[in-house]
């Protein structure tokens, strides 16, 4: 128990020591070229991420890879446009909700197959409710699962970067903790 307490104290001290440095990573960059390029390139990155997710079954990529690209676009936005503007697009609560929602799609499709009387994630049985042949049902089921995985991975990627770059302390918590900026 004392060891665990000491570990926690060291963690808190390190966090306070490197706090300003971490916070600086999310400030608005003062370089107009970086900001403009990021603003132009971000929609194309997201479009490409959707392409990777949608064509996961006949080209390289899939849910996870597309989710990483989608998350990278949000990370680029957070790096270039600062914490405040990024929080209006994708707050930490929204990221948590999206990650849960993606997992819900994934496990929901899996459990739907289970309820319909076959194995977990055995999409062939979905043909009875989708009114298509089993092969098409398998393709649609995999697509649904990949969309779920993509949403979850995107939210988790953003959430991890958000937590690391703010040190887990959001600006509204600063008064409670007595951390001066």
């Amino acid at each position: 128990m004392p060891g665990r307490l000491g570990q926690a104290l060291v963690c808190v001290c390190l966090r306070l020591k490197y706090f300003n440095e971490q916070r600086e990573m999310t400030r608005v960059t003062d370089d107009i070229i970086i900001r403009t390029v990021a603003r132009v390139i971000i929609p194309f990155i997201q479009l490409y991420a959707l392409y990777v997710i949608m064509h996961g079954h006949h080209s390289p990529g899939g849910g996870f890879q597309g989710g990483v690209i989608l998350g990278a676009s949000f990370i680029l936005f957070l790096l270039t446009h600062g914490l405040e503007e990024a929080k209006t697009r994708m707050s930490e609560m929204k990221a948590g909700l999206f990650s849960s929602f993606g997992l819900l799609i994934y496990s929901g499709i899996g459990l739907l197959c289970l309820i319909l009387g076959s194995n977990y994630l055995d999409y062939g049985k979905l043909s009875t409710i989708l009114k298509v042949i089993p092969a098409q049902a398998r393709s649609l089921g995999i697509l649904g699962v990949e969309i779920g995985v993509g949403i979850a991975v995107m939210a988790v990627m953003f959430s991890v970067f958000f937590d690391i770059s703010t040190g887990g302390i959001l600006p509204e918590d600063e008064e409670d903790l007595g951390v001066n900026k």
Binding site: E21, E24, M25, T29, I34, I45, Y48, V52, S59, P60, G61, Q65, I69, A72, I75, L76, L79, T80
Partner: protein
């Protein structure tokens, strides 16, 4: 011998020159430039591999992701160094 294979081998040797700059290079900026150049060369090598295996449409997806993550990584490293006051 395939022309694409020859080109790829040439780029493979050039990667090591950039790696030398990334490992021993004086200063942080030289290292970042070296790593960025390695990323660009890797992208071209991936495309040449696509030509060798006759599956360009597949390798072009991978190389685009590689270019994208290389770009974001360089921006992140540059911003970190700017904060640390190394530049």
């Amino acid at each position: 011998m395939n022309i694409f294979l020859l080109l790829g081998m040439g780029l493979f040797i050039l990667v090591f020159l950039c790696l030398y700059r990334a490992v021993f290079g004086p200063g942080v900026l030289n290292r970042i430039a070296g790593i960025c150049a390695i990323g660009t060369k890797t992208l071209v090598i991936l495309l040449l591999m696509g030509f060798i295996y006759n599956r360009v449409e597949m390798f072009i997806d991978i190389s685009m992701v590689y270019a994208l993550l290389n770009f974001i990584g360089t921006i992140t490293a540059a911003k970190y160094l700017e904060i640390k006051g190394e530049v």
